[in-house]
Structures are given as structure tokens and as C-alpha cells.
Amino acid sequence: MEDEQSFSDIYGGRLALQRRCYSPSCLEFCLSCPRITLRSLTAVTCTVWLAAYGLFTLCENSMILSAAIFITLLGLLGYLHFVKIDHETLLIIDSLGIQMTSSYASGKESTTFIEMGEVKDVVINEAIYMQKVIYYLCILLKDPVEPHGISQVVPLFQGGRRQDHLCIQQKVSLGDGGILASSGRQK
């Protein structure tokens, strides 16, 4: 079954959280990040081209203008392929593991899978950003050497940066608590 809800991040952009339940042992959460707006794109392009035109009037070299066009195009392609995340998916499969997929605006997908045997716990961490405190979800991994230690902290949903997860953590934890709890009993 599917379920969708809208939230907003600390800058006011629209976030959408979608929840799908494939079976009692498989859940998927999909968080869509705010899209790139025409206004910001126009602003960046105009700034770069104005700066290039200013340099051109100083140096009288037309290569600067062509270089500015190339820089804008390459910069936009690089930004869409490496930086801008379109949506992030969290797939939780009972007794197998947790999979996090980030889809970039250019279509590239990068996936990480953590086996259930390595997961110690899912917690909410606090961080101080400028003048406020924000919360984010993260997974604690077990340390293979020391049974009670923690080897790594993996934050979830890192694509839209500086998101406040407090408004959505309740939904996620209610959804996946069942699966993680049942796997926890087996450990």
C-alpha cells in the first residue's frame, strides 16, 4: 500500500515522503528533495556571464566569453550529475538488510546496502547548525572486534542537506520498528 505526506525543510523547500509496503517483511520510504528552481538557475547564469562580460571589457579578449559559456555548461552538467539529488529511497527488508539509494537529477543512482547482521540500532542524532538544533536519522553499525562498541555512524537521507528529520522520524520509526525489532530478537 502507498502513503504520501508533504513536509518542508528548514529553508522552506517542499519535501515529500512516500511510504510503500510490499509485504509484511519489506518496506520502502522515498523522500523527494526540493527541485532546482528556474529563479536560482537564472541568477547563477546571469552572475557568471556578467562577470565574464566585465572581464571582457577589461581585457578585450573574446575567448573569455566562450570560456564563460563552457564553464556554465560544464558546471551545470557537473552539478546535476554529482551534487543535486532528486530523491532518496530507503528499502528495509526483514532479516536481509537496509538499502539506501540516492538518485541524482541526471539519472545516476548510487546504492549502499547494509546487512542486518551489521546493524546495531537506528537512532536520531542531534546536531547544532548555526542557531538551531536539527535532528537526523542514522544507523549505528556494530564493531566486529568489540561486541558492545560501535564502528560507524551512517546518516540517512543526506541528499537534501540540513533537513530536519524530526517531523518525519516518527513515521519512519513506526514503520520500520516492527521489522527491526523482529530482526533484533534473532540476534
Binding site: 517483511s25 527488508i93 546487512e115
Partner: protein
């Protein structure tokens, strides 16, 4: 825990039969390796499985039944399949079923309580995970964090769930040798049934590779025997070989080629030098050398005047300046004498550049060293003069204060000098002090020039090191067959109908390029400068000669 069944995609279209594989109780997962088709004799199946178990150390057993029919199975078939469960007893017993031509699967796992209490058998929920058998067989998992203090032996004992799956498939080669098209007693279906991978060109290349490799290996052994001959170990030649970086690179390349052709791997060397490039390079070399010499002459004229407004000692200035100018004159005449032969020499030397870009870069580094040989000479003269002056000054300064250096005790002791010793010592000290600025200035200028040349050569060496340590084969493998180097796996949920088991597709997540380079980096020669910045500054101050890098395998001077 939910039961997981790893099913190979190649068996999804196979006919009905028995499921053969390994059961991992810690993860409650069954890894299906092959399907045994009807008709079969159970004794022969058990014999085959015992053979495979002995050969591969993997606990291969019969896991259940596989049914691929047009419609729902009839009752008689159902009892037959259950009867099989009694012959090959296994807990839990899997019954996978698929309707031909549709995507609906059904899967049951039953626990037998005993032959009498069929009604009390429990059924568990099963999750189907499809995997590509050939890719998982060839793939190598790279764990995310390998702690440095763990031994390699620990990994097999505490292997994670997915590492166990990869391990099982990789070690069961013995099971994949016979096929359902073979005439053996037992007919199996696995990844080989899809058709053995073949390409005519690849087969021809494999057949041709044998004799070609043999021939090249013989040639290379001849070359290495010739180079190990006693003639090359005599003093002048061995000194020259050790100083030229081209020879080091050629030796390295020879080692690499011997290794490559003995293990029959293919490598494509970069062909850099074309014929017309050599002519252009030769034409460009002489004017460059002339230009460098002219610039040096201007520099010396400037030093002989009043450089930077400093007042030099006229006589010493003229002597040193004329001495160095004469050297430059000699050097220019030498270059002009050599100019007709430069192109021929360069062409023959450039032939060896077909062994790779690194050899070409090493040749460039050696050409730079040869062209700036006069700068090196000037640096040595200036450094020796300055060093002598500094030592003289320090010794006379001690005399001026009434002290002496005790060689036996390695320390400064007081000493009573005669009056005439003191007089001459003070006189010499004064002379040396007033001549110090001139010598120091010449030393400074030539040291800076020498450091510049050394920096350029050092950069070329760094580049050569970088290219040498680049793992081209691993990068090529990552580009062409990304499933061979796996960072992990990724799952995709397939079409799901309520009431049917959950089906997942397991795909291999390839290793990112940065981790490929980091993990498979080849060993470099490691010729980094042995001094720290402090000791370098100290040597420069006292006028000791600096040798910025050592070649591979050199002994300390």
C-alpha cells in the same frame, strides 16, 4: 526469521526437478545452485553430491523440489513430490512452483516433524531472491572496512550473510562441470546451460597466444641474459647506468614484460613517438640549448657588474665570472659540434619509447639532465668554493676566540696560540670575511638554478611513478566487466501480488573507481627524498652537495 531462497535466474525457465544447493542455518537462507531433472535415480544423485562435497568442501544437498508446469500440479504429482521429501530428507523442505509463461511464483517451506505426523508440519514465509549465477561466480566482494589488526583467517568464520552466498557459488565449480545436455547419469541445469560463452575471435586469439608468448619469452630471456653480462658491470658503464633514469625505467619495463609474457596476459603498450616528431624535437633542441647558454651568459655579466646594487670584490668577481664564461663557451662549442648527429641519436633512442609513456618521460628527464650539465658543474664549483670558505671561516673564528676543534674528543677545546699564529690567522680571517659576499652570491645564484632543474626532474619522476603504479588491468576490468569487482549488492523488488511470496532481484554493486585505484595500486619504486626540510636547509647553508633522490636499489655513497 524469514526464510530466504537465493534462486539463479538461469534456472527460472528450466524443467521440473530437484533443487540442489546449500543451506545456511545461521541466516536461514538456502542457496540454490542447480536443478536436477527427471528422470533420475536417487542413489546416483546422492553419489554425485557426495563427490561434489568432497571436491569443493561445500555442503551441497538436495533442498527441495522445483515445479514448472502449465497449470496447477495434479494431486498425484503432489504426492510424488512429497514422497521425494522422504527420500532426501532435509529441513526445511522447499517446494517452488512456477506456472509456465506467467510471472506468478509460489513457494512453500515445510518442516517435517516425522513420517507419521504430516499434518503437524509447519510452513514458514519464504522470500525469493534472484541472482545472476555467472556474475556472482566471477565476482569478488570487497568489504567496506578492513581493520588492519585483523587476520585474514577471521573472515571465513564470521562471514556475513551475503559473503556466504558468494563464497558458496564460487567454490562449487565442481557441480557446474556436467550439464543437462551431457550424457551422464544425472542431468543438471545451471548457468552453463544458457550456452557456453564463445566468440571466434577470442578463441583464435587464445590459440595464437600460446606460441607468440613462447617466442616473446625466449627473446626477452635473451635480452636479460645479455644485459646481465659481465661487460656492463665494469666501472664507467655501471656508473652511467645508475645515473640515467632511462636505464632504470628500461630495467623496470623489462621486468614487467617478462612477467606479462610468462603468465599470458595481454597488455597494450602506448605508442607515443612518431617519425616526424623526432625531427621536430631534434630541430628544437639546439636553439633551446643556445638560448639557455645565452641566458646564463647574461646572468654572469650581471653578476660581474653590480648585481642588485651590491658592491662586489672586483678581482674575485672578474676571476669567477671569466672562469664560468669560459665553461659556457666550451659547452656551446660542444653542442654545435654534436648538432648534425642529434637527430640520428634521438631517433634511435626514441625507438625505445614504444615501450610506453613512462620510458619517454624518463628519456625527457635524462635529456634535461644532459642539457643542463653545465649548470650542475657550476653548482658544484660554487658549492665547493663556498664550503671551503665556510669551513675556513669557522676554524679561523675559533682561533680568533682562542679555541680549537679537538678531533679526538669531537668537541671545541681552548688552546693557547703563539703570537705569529694569531696574527696570520686574524689576517686570513679578515680576508675571507670580506670575500664572503661575492662567493656567497655566486653560490646562491647557481644553487637556485640547480634547484630549479632538480624540481623539474623531480616532477617528471613523480609523474612516472604515478603512471607506473596505476593499475590499468583493474581499471579496465572495472570498465568492461564491472561485476567482477563488487563493493556490495543491491536489491530491487519485482512485481508483487498479494498471497504470493515476495520476489527480489539481487544485482552486483560495482566498486567505485577511486577504491579500485586505492586497493589495487601497484608498488612504486619509492624513491622519495631522504632528507627532511631542516636537514636540506642545513646542507644548503654549509655548502654541502645535495643529491635529491636516489635511484632504486642504489647503495648510499
Amino acid at each position: 526469521m524469514v526464510l530466504k531462497a537465493f534462486f539463479p535466474t538461469c534456472c527460472a525457465s528450466a524443467d521440473s526437478g530437484l533443487l540442489v544447493g546449500r543451506w545456511v542455518p545461521e541466516q536461514s537462507s538456502a542457496v540454490v545452485l542447480a536443478v536436477v531433472h527427471f528422470p533420475f535415480i536417487p542413489i546416483q544423485v546422492k553419489e554425485l553430491l557426495a563427490q561434489v562435497q568432497q571436491a569443493s568442501q561445500v555442503g551441497v544437498t538436495v533442498l527441495g523440489t522445483w515445479c514448472h508446469r502449465r497449470q496447477e500440479p495434479e494431486e498425484s504429482l503432489g504426492h510424488f513430490l512429497e514422497g521425494l521429501g522422504a527420500i532426501f530428507s532435509h529441513k526445511p523442505w522447499f517446494q517452488l512452483c512456477r506456472e509456465r509463461g506467467s510471472k506468478s511464483w509460489s513457494c512453500k517451506a515445510t518442516h517435517w516433524q516425522g513420517p507419521t505426523s504430516h499434518a503437524a508440519s509447519g510452513e514458514d514465509q519464504v522470500m525469493l531472491i534472484f541472482y545472476d549465477q555467472r556474475k556472482v561466480l566471477l565476482s569478488q566482494l570487497h568489504p567496506p572496512a578492513v581493520l588492519p589488526d585483523r587476520q585474514a583467517g577471521d573472515t571465513t568464520a564470521s562471514a556475513g550473510g551475503l559473503a556466504a552466498v558468494f563464497d558458496t557459488v564460487a567454490r562449487s565449480e565442481a557441480l557446474f562441470q556436467s550439464d543437462r545436455f551431457d550424457e551422464g547419469p544425472v542431468r543438471l541445469s545451471h548457468w552453463q546451460s544458457e550456452g557456453v560463452e564463445a566468440s571466434i575471435l577470442v578463441e583464435l586469439a587464445k590459440w595464437a597466444a600460446g606460441p607468440v608468448c613462447l617466442l616473446l619469452a625466449c627473446l626477452l630471456s635473451l635480452v636479460s641474459a645479455a644485459s646481465a653480462c659481465r661487460v656492463f658491470k665494469l666501472w664507467p658503464l655501471s656508473f652511467i647506468w645508475s645515473k640515467l633514469s632511462t636505464c632504470e625505467q628500461l630495467r623496470h619495463r623489462l621486468e614487467q614484460l617478462t612477467l606479462i609474457f610468462s603468465t599470458r596476459k595481454a597488455k597494450n603498450p602506448a605508442q607515443l613517438m612518431r617519425k616526424d616528431l623526432i625531427g621536430q624535437l631534434a630541430d628544437a633542441l639546439i636553439p633551446v640549448a643556445d638560448h639557455v647558454a645565452k641566458e646564463l651568459q647574461h646572468l654572469l655579466q650581471w653578476l660581474m657588474g653590480a648585481p642588485a646594487g651590491l658592491k662586489m670584490n672586483r678581482a674575485l668577481d672578474q676571476v669567477l665570472g671569466r672562469f664560468f664564461l669560459y665553461h659556457i663557451h666550451l659547452w656551446i662549442s660542444y653542442i654545435h659540434l654534436m648538432s648534425p648527429f642529434i637527430e640520428r641519436i634521438l631517433w634511435h633512442v626514441g625507438l625505445s619509447a614504444c615501450l610506453g609513456l613512462t620510458v619517454a618521460l624518463s628519456i625527457l628527464s635524462d635529456i634535461i639532465a644532459l642539457l643542463t650539465f653545465h649548470i650542475y658543474c657550476f653548482y658544484v664549483y660554487g658549492a665547493r668554493l663556498y664550503c671551503l670558505k665556510i669551513h675556513g671561516l669557522s676554524s679561523l673564528w675559533r682561533l680568533f676566540r682562542g679555541k680549537k676543534w679537538n678531533v679526538l674528543r669531537q668537541r671545541v677545546d681552548s688552546c693557547s696560540y703563539d703570537l705569529d699564529q694569531l696574527f696570520i690567522g686574524t689576517l686570513l680571517f679578515t680576508i675571507l670575511v670580506f670575500l664572503l659576499p661575492t662567493t656567497a652570491l655566486y653560490y646562491l645564484v647557481f644553487t637556485l638554478l640547480r634547484l630549479l632543474v632538480v624540481t623539474v626532474q623531480g616532477l617528471i619522476h613523480l609523474l612516472v611513478d604515478l603512471i607506473n603504479s596505476l593499475p590499468l588491468y583493474s581499471l579496465g576490468l572495472r570498465l568492461c566487466r564491472p561485476y567482477r569487482l563488487a563493493a556490495g549488492v543491491k536489491f530491487r523488488v519485482l512485481e508483487h501480488e498479494t498471497g504470493r511470496p515476495l520476489r527480489l532481484l539481487m544485482q552486483i554493486n560495482p566498486l567505485p573507481y577511486s577504491r579500485v585505484v586505492h586497493t589495487y595500486r601497484l608498488p612504486t619504486c619509492g624513491c622519495h627524498p631522504k632528507h627532511s626540510w631542516g636537514s636540506l636547509c642545513r646542507k644548503l647553508f654549509f655548502g654541502e652537495l645535495i643529491y635529491p633522490w636516489r635511484q632504486r636499489g642504489d647503495k648510499q655513497d
